[in-house]
Symmetry: C2
Subunit: 223 residues, 2 copies
Amino acid sequence: MSADPAIRRDIPDATVARLPEYLRALSDVADRGISSVSSEELAQAAGVRSTQLRKDLSHLGSYGIRGVGYEVEHLALEISRALGLTQDWPVAIVGMGNLGRALAAYSGFATGGFHVAAVFDEDAALAGALVADLPISPMTDLALLVRERGITIGVIATPAASAQSVCNALVEAGVRSLLNFAPLVLVVPDDVDVRRVDLSTELHVLAFHEQRKSLPPELGVAR
Amino acid sequence: MSADPAIRRDIPDATVARLPEYLRALSDVADRGISSVSSEELAQAAGVRSTQLRKDLSHLGSYGIRGVGYEVEHLALEISRALGLTQDWPVAIVGMGNLGRALAAYSGFATGGFHVAAVFDEDAALAGALVADLPISPMTDLALLVRERGITIGVIATPAASAQSVCNALVEAGVRSLLNFAPLVLVVPDDVDVRRVDLSTELHVLAFHEQRKSLPPELGVAR
DNA sequence: GCAACTTTGTGCCCGCGTTCACAAACGCTT
DNA sequence: AAGCGTTTGTGAACGCGGGCACAAAGTTGC
């Protein structure tokens, strides 16, 4: 009845953000040899409410069996398909400082179709040095390698000072999805997606809540 | 008229998440020798709308001057105070793999009262080795050092397999704010805050949007 | 000292996301 | 085959956060 090919459109952003976690939880469950889970079990493993899980999954389609639960392998496949993990995603990392090197070596990278296809650094003196079995390329080769290797995702792991120019180079080369580790807001065209990961911001938020905990002189709200 | 001490309560989470960015934008502005900014200028530097910036700041208090703007240094101080950055925050990092070492060396750590007070690894063989001028301590010293050095924030940079046990040890030692880089949902008591940073999740979300860009056979929505 | 201009602070509305409540659907037992 | 228990899928209510419009308040110029 329902169309087979990726049917659903307009999956809410909030749902998309949780799908990777569901996928990870499913992987855990599968590793334990379990082939079927209820929304309640899976939700607990993913740290959300079961109703939320079911509503999220409902945006993908009806892949559960009422009275039983979800078939682990099948659901994992459907989520992977929705996220686009059934295809290969070559990634470029720019900035081979401590962080860039750690990212290049990060094993979690390998999960779900991603792989480091090239690494770059603005310091031409580093060119040729090996990082996780890959030679560091100079920025002048960026456009060429992006084209040759079909790179669609760029990771910026440079200092803040050079992040915008590196970003411009990536966009110029045709990369439209960026993961930014530099502590600044990048300016990009509308069709480019940027996600930012900032250690400093996370620490600040933690400090805020920690402060609230230590000085509760008034206002005893739940949180 | 208005009380001087940290007056405002219940700052929305969404606002708190943006305050660090405002602080960074203010720092940039200050570096350019500017002493006063309008909400419009500052908002642009922080990548938000000016109305949003003003509403966010209104939760802290009235620190702007109508017809003029905000005094850069004063506003930075007030945001710092709201976030709790006027005090010192000793941080412990657990897991001295590639990522842990990169984090320990990360300069952005130093901003706003944070500093790495101790680093740990479950591998006792690493004990004593220097990372960013700090000797790696064995996990058996965790409780002692947390107490001695007043550590309130813990960073988990271990593999997923050991993350939960490390988390338990940190919580047991009295740490109530955690930054988790391991790809799993930690189980913690209600009074413990956990923020998670996951490269894999970010890549998945990017892949989703990238996929949507490449295959636009139907539905020409704005996004 | 007054008027015109500028910029902040905020009340109100709207849209998104989360949760609740419940009906629909499935397996199992008798 | 029919009923019972279980679990999914979803319509509806609710609450939070963002953006608009505007009043309040301050500055500048004359």
